[in-house]
Amino acid sequence: MTTILLVEDDKNQRLLYEQELKHDGYDVVTASDGKEALEKVQKQLPDIVIMDINMPKMDGIEAMGRILSKNKAIPVIINTAYTNYKDSFMSWVADAYVVKSSELSELKGKIKEVLANKAKDS
């Protein structure tokens, strides 16, 4: 089963995403900040990470860079309420950049696309 690591500091959003993704058949592991995400990546080796940016302790951009330096094969999708992080060079590390909305179809579409690309590369 495909494991998604969902990194999101807002409790309600975390629950919403978790339920939606589980409903679609994914195994979902959650983390509430960048630091916790790094620990979970090491333990669970997820197939893909969905990463918020504005979070306490360690933001999503830094966490993404650190994940990449250890686990090059794990793709990351940025999922943020802000568009302006697209100008940040480090955000280009992400395999996809999704602006949060109440409707999850774009995020779900990107998850499929990124996983398909990963399968093609390996």
Binding site: G65, R66, S69, K72, S88, F89, M90, W92, V93
Partner: protein, 413 residues
């Protein structure tokens, strides 16, 4: 040069790679990074690249350091504190920040990738990537104009090198418009140049990138298991998808004979130094239009002493040599040598074809030939260096071509 061209150079960020271990220059790199190795009496190797930047009007410079950077940091602080921050000019040395990785620099491309925040903060239009261990004079403005003219994504400075040396470099093939159509990093059989079968067209490791192209390339590379090296990974891949051009290097002084030396080995280091003391040097450090800057401590002028109290009166003889401030040569012979500041040479000693660094004391009746004596060494009376390979090898580093290297602060008494 029009105003708009001058403004172009304000949009270039220069990154100097100064993080290599310099193992092949050991023991000169025992206590210092390769770019900080003394050169030509009063300089450090990095001074030549930095002087090129200054003389080309490039005044936003970051120096990426890593190993043994203390003496390099000190040199940059003392000698290169000439940029005006209020005019947004700077020279910053940056050791690994471990900001996006907890590792040291894995390769040249990784070193730039790990400093991606510097690029983001500065938002330059172009990034010039240089090595801190080359001796040459180059006006980077001409390369930038070429880059613009060709609407290139990446421009690489190149020059002809002898065919048999081609295996040390990235070898380049171009079409008639100078666009690069082939790139082979350190090939075992370099392809000869179409115009001259005795030479091959080599990359000098000088890269001018459009910033966005660079960022995309180093991120792409960071996500793969490669050597994270511009020559091995980034460039061979990029020539197929981007506009990559070869800029034919011309010397600042001398268009017929382009002088560029990669100080990769002790032999190359010795030879490049010796180039300075030839009767008509291929590399001119006396050009007032292209000054080479460095840090100099205060020393009194060099002095020679006539030793008439000796039984056989002894006059100094100094031929084809560079003698720096603070040296006192008393009744000795110095030929084809480079003497750094603050050296004493006592009577009846003879030194040939050697590089002597700061604060070395050479006693009486000493003979030295084809040697590099690093800082603060006392050579006792009657000692010979460079005359008996077997004996020298017991105490010192001796290169393939027979250059003897005495390490810094070595005790010989």
């Amino acid at each position: 040069m029009s105003l708009s061209n001058i403004q172009t150079y304000d949009k270039i960020l220069t990154i100097i790679l100064a993080g290599g271990q310099g193992e092949r220059l050991y023991p000169l790199t025992k206590d210092r990074a390769k770019p900080a190795v003394p050169f030509g009496g009063i300089y450090r190797i990095i001074d030549f690249t930095l002087s090129n930047c200054l003389n080309s009007g490039l005044r936003k410079i970051v120096v990426l350091t890593q190993y043994k950077s203390f003496s390099l940091d000190r040199h940059l602080r003392l000698g290169w504190n000439v940029f005006n921050n209020e005019l947004n000019e700077y020279i910053e040395q940056i050791p690994p920040q471990q900001r996006i990785s907890d590792q040291w620099y894995q390769g040249t491309a990784d070193a730039v990738y790990q400093n991606i925040y510097t690029l983001e903060k500065e938002q330059p239009e172009m990034v010039l990537i240089l090595s801190g261990d080359h001796i040459y004079k180059m006006d980077y403005r001409k390369m930038a104009l070429f880059h613009r003219e060709k609407k290139a994504d990446l421009t690489i400075a190149c020059m002809d090198v002898p065919l048999d040396e081609g295996k040390r470099f990235g070898i380049i093939q171009t079409n008639e418009d100078n666009r690069i159509i082939g790139f082979h990093e350190k090939p075992s059989a370099p392809i000869p140049s179409p115009n001259n079968p005795e030479v091959t067209f080599a990359s000098m490791g000088i890269y001018l990138f459009n910033t966005r192209t660079l960022v995309k390339a180093i991120i792409g590379d960071a996500k793969q298991n490669t050597n994270h090296d511009f020559g091995k990974n980034i460039i061979p891949e990029m020539i197929h998808s981007k506009r990559v051009y070869a800029y034919p290097f011309t010397d600042k002084n001398n268009n017929d004979l382009s002088y560029w030396r990669d100080i990769g080995t002790l032999d190359a280091y010795w030879k490049a130094n010796m180039d300075l003391v030839q009767e008509s040097p291929a590399f001119n450090i006396y050009d007032k239009d292209w000054p080479i800057r460095t840090y100099k401590a205060q020393y009194p002028p060099a002095k020679t002493v006539y030793q008439k109290d000796l039984p056989d009166e002894r006059t100094d003889m100094i031929i084809n040599s560079i003698v720096s401030g603070g040296c006192i040569i008393s009744g000795a012979k110095v030929e084809g040598c480079i003497l750094s500041p603050d050296i004493r040479v006592d009577p009846h000693s003879e030194i040939y074809d050697s590089i002597i660094m700061e604060n070395v004391r050479i006693g009486r009746n000493v003979k030295i030939r084809k040697a590099i004596i690093d800082k603060s060494v006392n050579i006792p009376d009657n000692m010979s260096i460079g005359y008996d390979r077997e004996e020298d090898s017991k105490h010192f580093t001796v290169t393939d071509s027979g250059i003897v290297v005495v390490r810094k602060e070595m005790h010989l008494i």
